[in-house]
């Protein structure tokens, strides 16, 4: 059962081969026996999951099955879930039981989906290896000594290890696509504004976007249909019709114009990864796609720009974690300042502190123009590069990350190299574009993802392009031996 995709599970439930309770229980059993090797869940909500599964079964019996009726999912622990701990991977929110549901959670609930639990993540989504979590690092199911990527590392590992059919993720600079690449699963980061951010704990508000981690593009299409759409509680969500993403999955790719940015195949890219990507592109050429080299000349600005804008926004977003109303509070504060300093000092880990410091500095009087304002200008240039490129191509392809998964502890003392592991994903967030990472091969038995970048709101086309690849390759169907 656990090797089935969501599309297959829906068929199984429809055919009465198993109930949602049976399905849910089988995943809960897998989590309880296998997650000790991975640490991919922060909270497993067994009782709640079985209760939701029972409801789903009775709704199905009553002929009221929603699109994802009875399908177990895991939610990244960044989404607020009513009555359930929502930690965001941080000691700061370890005591936080959200009194409300994120819009994404409400939408999944309305579709009949079942929540298995909350997945591990880098603290406040700040990290590329899942090593910054207060709850300890997540291990990569393909190589337990390796990181799963981050920040949605728990979600990616759990999906790869078949502990859940699919999971949500969030992507601020690559936090869905990079772990999807490292774990050999399908990651989709939609266009900024496609999915509501309400109830998704903010890291960098102008970059954050919720998306999916699944085994196939078809499953991503099913999930996105449920998640996407205007939300009046999020002013940055966009009023644009949500298409049925599954309808166009099988469109032919004959004549598809693929652009390969030369900047994504230059210095810094692992040769073996480059080979995997080149081979994947050849598959598209076989399907009739036309490949051309393009240039995104301001690519080199992406990482520095991101590391001004994201920390600036996070320094402000995380200020509400002050020990006053919720979350961690230090013992016996002497006065207000002591309460702030110790609660935050104890509650946040070193990477979060580093980014708060950088952001606070960048926004300071006298530095604002030199850093924040300049970064906004660079962001515009990066965005223009994509606009120009999309005048000539339909999709941009390249690696999702410069290497396959690195080992746990390998880069923890080298934040700059760690930051560079998002070098190919960050620009997409700065431009607000949709992007995907799909399994394309292996380097030393560690998965490598092909990144697809589309025009704004072109998710249907990206899913179509990804799905067609998955009809001619089986990288996505392979699983880590110990967990299949």
């Amino acid at each position: 059962m656990h090797n089935k995709t969501i599309a297959e599970l829906i068929n199984g439930l429809d055919a009465g081969e198993f109930s949602s309770v049976e399905l849910t229980q089988s995943y809960l059993d897998r989590i309880s026996s296998l997650d000790q090797h991975l640490n991919s869940f922060i909270t497993v909500t067994s009782e709640w999951a079985l209760e939701q599964a029972r409801q789903a079964d009775s709704q199905r019996a009553a002929g009221q099955a929603g699109l994802l009726n009875g399908i177990p999912l895991a939610q990244k622990d960044i989404f607020c879930t009513k009555g359930i701990k929502t930690s965001c991977g941080s000691r700061m929110l370890d005591p936080f039981i959200s009194p409300y549901n994120a819009t994404v959670i409400e939408k999944f609930n309305a579709s009949g989906a079942v929540m298995l639990g909350k997945t591990n993540m880098d603290e406040f989504a700040m990290g590329s290896s899942n090593e910054t979590s207060w709850y300890g690092p997540v291990k990569n199911p393909w190589a337990l000594e390796a990181v799963p990527g981050g920040s949605s590392g728990g979600s990616a590992a759990a999906v790869a290890a078949r502990l859940t059919p699919a999971a949500t993720g969030t992507d601020t600079g690559g936090s869905i696509r990079q772990p999807a690449s490292f774990c050999g699963v399908t990651g989709l980061k939609p266009t900024y504004g496609r999915v509501s951010r309400y109830g998704m704990i903010a890291f960098a508000s102008s970059l954050d976007q919720a998306g999916t981690i699944t085994r196939t593009a078809e499953d991503a299409a099913l999930l996105l249909k449920v998640m996407a759409g205007l939300d009046l509680r999020d002013s940055t969500s966009v009023d644009k019709e949500v298409p049925d993403y599954t309808e166009s999955l099988n469109n032919e790719l004959d004549g598809l114009k693929i652009g390969l940015p030369r900047e994504y195949f230059s210095e810094g890219l692992d040769d073996a990864v480059a080979k995997v990507i080149e081979d994947a592109i050849k598959e598209y050429e076989k399907m009739g796609a036309v490949v051309s080299e393009i240039s995104l000349p301001n690519s080199k600005l992406a990482v520095p720009t991101y590391y001004i804008i994201a920390p600036s926004e996070c320094s402000s977003n995380l200020s509400r974690m002050d020990g006053v109303r919720f979350g961690h509070r230090c013992e016996n504060p002497r006065d207000l300042n002591d309460l702030y300093i110790r609660s935050r000092g104890e509650g946040f880990g070193p990477e979060v502190k580093r980014r708060i410091l950088v952001g606070t500095y960048a926004l300071s009087e006298g530095f604002y123009d030199a850093y924040y304002v300049k970064a906004q200008k660079a962001r515009r240039l990066i965005s223009n590069d994509f606009n120009n490129a999309f005048e000539n191509v339909d999709v941009i392809m390249g690696p999702a990350a410069p290497s396959a998964a690195f080992n746990i502890g390998e880069l923890t003392d080298d934040p700059i190299t760690m930051y560079l592991s998002d070098i190919y994903t960050i620009a997409v967030n700065l431009a607000g574009l949709p992007g995907m990472s799909i399994p394309a091969g292996f380097v030393n038995n560690r998965p490598v993802g092909l990144q697809l970048i589309g025009r704004h709101f072109d998710e249907a086309k990206l899913l179509n392009i990804a799905h067609k690849f998955q009809t001619v390759t089986d990288w996505h169907a392979q699983g880590p031996g110990q967990f299949v």
């Binding site: 903010a202 960098a204 509680r233 002013s235 402000s316 109303r325 919720f326 207000l336 926004l363």
Partner: protein, 477 residues
């Protein structure tokens, strides 16, 4: 040395919207602590602000009323600072692109002249909650009911040259926002608050002196007092050769002094940047024109109309129009009795005197416009004299009821029966033979004495016109 005072004001006006500026929670005043604070107001993780368009409409109304530039695109910024009653640890405000740009208003000075005061800008922002230091045994309570209440901060140019001018400006702004209905202007409830920037410079000098900012002075009286004591403090320092420190000071009304709160060095760096959770606020010319068409008649225009159309004096018209409810009350009475002067005299006389004495506002007057109209009608139809009317007004104020029933029940109806008046006059003449002699020998002024005696004998009820007429006739015969 001759010093010139330079004052600029920042006025925070609470916009009268039903719900908060970025959430659906109610803005009603006086609820139990934290019962009107939703997840957004509490700044819980994951929540997002959604802008209340009514705050924009009301801000634009104000901008149009002061002939200001309305910015078709304005942007919300975050002002970052830690404080327990600031739940997100930032306030959403507008620094770089405010909704209202440059405008101006005319203020009325005591000598009857007017002066134009520039308004630099006005921007929308959210209010903070309240820290409660009492009743918590050394700890602090936080009430977030007020957090997220919409404010319009109106920033003036440093155009005022005395505390009196500052008060006149504040009163004018107060009058305008109340006329527009964009705020209830209630100072006790904090709907209208003021900070003052005060500095001195040698007369004739172009350059401004170092200023201090006086925080949160929340009545017209305190503004004047606070500014004046700050002027004195600064003058003492400057006269003795010292220098002013740029700082924020707090006015202590009990001691009538200002105290340093924090110096410029201690001031926060607010690290303003555009709020990424909110889109720029955009309003079209058509929408601005639509709002313009809903503007009511404003105090200056109303005052002018009262002078030209109703023949009131400039002074009376000004006094009647400073408050919209007063003006509405006046117009209602005036239209009913068709006598603007009488209506004005009563409102600025008896009614205002009683309101001041009881510290009431016109809307809370026990004698409403309809009741006053009933009273004035009885004067006009000679049922009672103006003097008796004052007694009736007192009775109406104290006991309620309409003029007619009070006149009836107290027997205050004017005596207009000629024979009855003649009878009283005859008695008075008979009782004062020597005065009659003096009058007849040419002491005309004594007519006043006789009128007084007759009115006294009639308990004030005799019609004074008739009394005068009959007296003249009888005394001269």
């Amino acid at each position: 040395m001759q010093w010139e005072v330079v004052i600029g004001l920042e006025i925070h006006v609470q916009l009268a919207t039903k719900s908060k500026i970025f959430s659906g929670a109610s803005t009603a005043y006086g609820a139990e602590p934290n019962t009107q604070a939703c997840a957004v107001d509490m700044g819980l993780p994951g929540v997002l602000p959604v802008f209340n368009g009514e705050a924009l409409r009301k801000s634009v109304m104000f901008g149009l009323a002061i002939d200001a530039q309305i910015n078709e695109r304005s942007v919300f910024d975050r002002k970052n600072y830690f404080y327990p009653d600031s739940p997100k640890a930032y306030q959403i405000s507008q620094l770089y692109y405010p909704v209202v740009g440059k405008g101006s208003i005319d203020i009325d000075l005591e000598d009857g002249s007017t002066k134009c005061i520039g308004v630099t800008r006005a921007h929308m922002e959210e209010d903070a909650g309240k820290s409660l230091h009492e009743d918590f045994h050394g700890q602090t309570g936080i009430d977030l009911n007020r957090a997220g209440t919409p404010l319009l901060e109106i920033v003036s140019e440093p155009d005022m040259r005395s505390a009196k001018e500052a008060v006149a400006y504040m009163r004018k702004i107060h009058s305008i926002v109340r006329y527009l209905g964009v705020s209830d202007g209630n100072m006790q409830e904090g709907s209208f608050r003021c900070d003052a920037n005060v500095s001195l410079r040698p007369k004739g000098q172009e350059e401004f002196g170092t200023r201090t900012e006086l925080k949160n002075i929340n009545s017209f009286r305190f503004v004047e007092k606070a500014i004046n004591v700050e002027i004195e403090r600064q003058m003492d320092i400057l006269e003795s050769g010292g220098t002013i420190t740029q700082e924020t000071r707090l006015y202590d009304a009990d001691r009538n002094e200002t105290r340093s709160m924090r110096s410029k060095e201690e001031a926060n760096d607010y690290r303003y940047f555009p709020d990424p959770d909110l889109l720029p606020i955009v309003i079209s010319q058509e929408e601005i024109e639509q709002i313009r068409s809903t503007l009511p008649e404003l105090p200056d225009a109303k005052c002018k109309r009262f002078v030209t159309q109703l023949g009131l004096s400039e002074k009376d018209a000004r006094a009647l129009t400073s408050d919209r409810e007063m003006a509405d009350y006046f117009e209602q009475v005036q239209q009913s009795i068709d006598d603007a002067k009488m209506a004005a005299n009563w409102l600025l006389g008896e009614v205002s005197a009683r309101l001041n004495k009881n510290a009431l506002e016109i809307k809370d007057s026990p004698v409403n416009a309809e009741a006053l109209t009933g009273l004035l009608r009885r004067i006009k139809d000679n049922t009672i004299s103006g003097k008796i009317a004052k007694d009736v007004f007192e009775a109406m104020w104290e006991e309620g009821g309409d003029a007619h029933s009070i006149i009836e029940s107290k027997g205050l109806k004017q005596i207009t029966d000629t024979s009855a008046i003649e009878a009283i006059i005859d008695e008075v003449i008979a009782a004062n033979p020597s005065q009659v002699e003096e009058f007849k020998s040419g002491k005309d002024k004594l007519i006043g004495f006789f009128v007084g005696q007759v009115m006294k004998a009639s308990k004030g009820k005799a019609n004074p016109g008739q009394v005068n007429q009959i007296l003249q006739k009888k005394l001269k015969s």
